[in-house]
């Protein structure tokens, strides 16, 4: 009688003991010691987990910083102050970084013609799979909002003309929109800049047929620029912000109004 | 009367099957007939109440790191008790429920309530919560089994309700269960949204 009660109790106690001791021992041998620097670092990072640094969230970046595999400038979302304090904490030299904001290089939207009617998955990436998208200009924006969904700071909205609008106050320059757009229409430019809102390498005639506001490579901007910052290559005008002296003649002379000024 | 709130919430607002969506595995597998549903519901309620009481009693004593294994041991003990009782006093039910009686131990609902509620509340409140959740689970089971059994077999509790209609067998099989619960949850979502709007 007593054995009938004792056997299960002993059996379970033995099992429990083996597991308990086994686990405790395992923890002793294999337990990883968390670097105390980690907690401080994570608290100094913005915590938005946007992944722009290429690591697995802020924790991943903190890990890389602690191991010396990344520098604070890798985090584009941190403020200057934050980066400076991380530098001080880790004892690295401070790097200066200019603030950039995402700029959208297409002026088509409702001004651009469609080549077919699209009734499919509402995603730019999906639409691009079908003959390069439903716009007559194969370089142009499809307006289905992949960038809107991708932006971790909700800085992008689709405007009334079917084109994305970037809110400069919310944009943190993480670059996710650049990766999200299947037409690569995003670029990170300084706050104050001049840029050409078009990426079409089609000839002037082709562009004019497809869109009323594209770059037709008329070369008026290149001739008008006193600083030589504007160059037209492969039927597309490009502005080199390194040479730009912020005069603005290019904006005035452009016949399709595709060059814009920001800031 | 705040106490009654703990009991009532398990019946509708925080119904474990339809709103929190826990403990689905036995719900779908066992609801092939109403008698199975009732049996499982009662067994689960018993385990819930028993484990909630004990978890609540030891809540101050057990150290943080071994919390979950302790709860699991308590729950497993009650499940074993229920399993043995069923095998002795309701062998037909035990056979038709099969391995789902031992599976009550991994029922998310049981461990979830122990962890989320009983480990922080005094015994009396824990009992009420367990009763509420258990009865909520049981009536959800009865509803699903009633639909599945009547549509899939033409019977309820073994009593034939219609002779003229040829029951679609798939309601008793796996797809029927998933379809039933999908539509029921959608219906309850819809009703809840409508009543909230009022």
């Amino acid at each position: 009688m007593i054995m009938r009660i004792l056997t299960p109790v002993l059996a379970m106690a033995a099992l429990g003991l083996i597991f308990g001791v086994g686990l405790a021992y395992t923890l002793k041998i294999f337990g990883i010691k968390l670097d105390p620097k980690m907690f401080k670092l994570i608290s100094m990072l913005p915590g938005s987990n946007c992944g722009a640094c290429g690591k697995a969230g802020c924790a991943g970046f903190a890990e890389a910083l602690a191991r010396g595999e990344a520098t604070p400038s890798g985090c584009v979302v941190s403020s200057e102050e934050a980066r400076r304090s991380i530098d001080l904490f880790l004892g690295i030299d401070y790097e200066v970084r200019t603030k950039t904001i995402a700029a959208f290089l297409c002026n088509g939207g409702i001004r651009a013609k469609n080549k077919y009617s699209y009734r499919g998955i509402k995603s730019c990436k999906a639409a691009t799979l079908l003959f390069g998208g439903y716009k007559a200009c194969s370089f142009g924006c499809l307006g289905l909002g992949d960038c809107v969904r991708e932006c971790p700071f909700h800085a992008i909205t689709i405007g009334v003309d079917g084109l994305p609008v970037v809110d400069p106050k919310k944009c943190n320059s993480c670059g996710k929109c650049m990766k999200a757009c299947p037409k690569s229409l995003y670029v990170l430019l300084p706050e104050k800049c001049y840029y050409v809102k078009c990426r079409s390498k089609d000839t002037g005639a082709q562009t004019a047929r497809a869109c009323s506001s594209g770059c037709i490579a008329c070369m008026k901007c290149e001739k008008a620029c006193p600083s030589g910052a504007v160059k037209v290559e492969s039927n597309l005008s490009k502005i080199d912000m390194g040479k730009c002296k912020y005069i603005g003649r290019c904006v005035e002379v452009c016949p399709t109004k595709v060059i814009a000024k920001r800031g | 009367m705040k106490m009654m709130g703990e009991f009532v919430k398990g019946l509708w607002r925080e119904n474990p099957t339809f709103r929190i969506v826990l403990g689905l595995c036995p719900t779908l597998a066992v609801s092939t007939s109403v008698s199975n549903g009732i049996g499982m519901g009662v067994a689960a309620t018993f385990v819930l109440v028993g484990s909630n009481i004990f978890v609540s009693l030891i809540r101050g004593i057990v150290p943080e790191k071994v919390r979950i294994p302790c709860f699991i041991v308590i729950i497993a003990t009650f499940v074993t008790i229920v399993d043995l009782l069923m095998k002795a006093y309701a062998p037909a039910l035990s056979r038709s429920l099969g391995m789902f009686v031992p599976l009550i131990v991994v029922n998310c609902m049981v461990l979830g309530r122990a962890e989320a509620f009983a480990s922080k509340a005094p015994p009396f409140k824990s009992i009420l919560d367990a009763l509420g959740m258990g009865i909520g689970f049981t009536w959800a089971l009865i509803l699903i089994s009633a639909i599945r059994e009547s549509l899939g077999n033409g019977t309820i509790l073994g009593i034939t309700i219609s002779r003229s209609f040829e029951p679609p067998l798939f309601m008793i099989l796996a797809p029927g269960a998933l379809l039933t619960i999908g539509i029921l949850i959608a219906l309850i979502n819809y009703l809840t949204m409508k009543w909230k709007a009022k």
Partner: protein, 202 residues
């Protein structure tokens, strides 16, 4: 050591009696985790790993400790302890020894402790491969293969469901059906498709 028996077991566990779509084991994580493909496959791998190892350990305990001492009623208690301890052990070791692997499926390991699929596979092994308190011949290998098949079937179902749900993101689902109800209805269609396997004679 009969290869055809093992193939029968694997095919029946993965397709004919799929753990999620036919036996309803592991539904909570099926509904919860299958929104995107990467977490789904990661969780599936973790479940396969744990189920296989748990099948081995629980078989040994059942055959060498519980049965000889007439302690079958301790099955529930001891099995769940084994699974919980093993998961904890696996998490610690993997985190230290294979951090890349930990990033892939480590975060799902604690969730698997209460996953019906793991416990269900262990219990099923003892129900099917033991007769009258004795192990059926070849029971150990059969249990191991059934455990592995359980996890593999789980992974397959998760993978299919995540693919469908990712596409569903762009569809216009009625508000009361969003998320959970529509997932169940899709699962019911998948289950119907898998029912087609039930007539197989291997």
């Amino acid at each position: 050591m009969d290869l055809s028996t093992y193939i029968t077991i694997i095919i029946s566990t993965i397709f004919i009696n799929n753990f999620i779509l036919s036996r309803f084991l592991g539904l909570c994580s099926f509904i919860g985790v299958s929104k995107n493909t990467l977490p789904s496959v990661s969780m599936g791998l973790a479940v396969t790993f744990v189920t296989t190892m748990a099948s081995i350990i629980t078989w040994l305990i059942y055959n060498y400790i519980l049965l000889p001492y007439n302690l079958e009623y301790l099955r529930t208690l001891s099995f769940i302890l084994v699974i919980a301890s093993f998961v904890q052990f696996a998490e610690i070791v993997i985190q230290k020894k294979a951090p890349a692997l930990y990033k892939v499926f480590g975060i799902y390991l604690p969730l698997i402790t209460v996953n019906c699929a793991v416990f269900g596979a262990a219990v099923l092994n003892t129900d099917v491969f033991f007769l009258h308190g004795h192990a059926v011949p070849g029971s150990f290998m059969k249990s191991l293969i059934q455990g592995f098949g359980a996890g593999a079937g789980f992974t397959l179902a998760m993978f299919i469901m995540s693919g469908i749900r990712e596409r569903l993101e762009y569809a216009d689902v009625p508000r009361s059906m969003k998320d959970i109800p529509i997932t169940f209805i899709i699962a019911s269609l998948m289950s119907m498709a898998f029912l087609g396997f039930s007539g197989f004679k291997i």
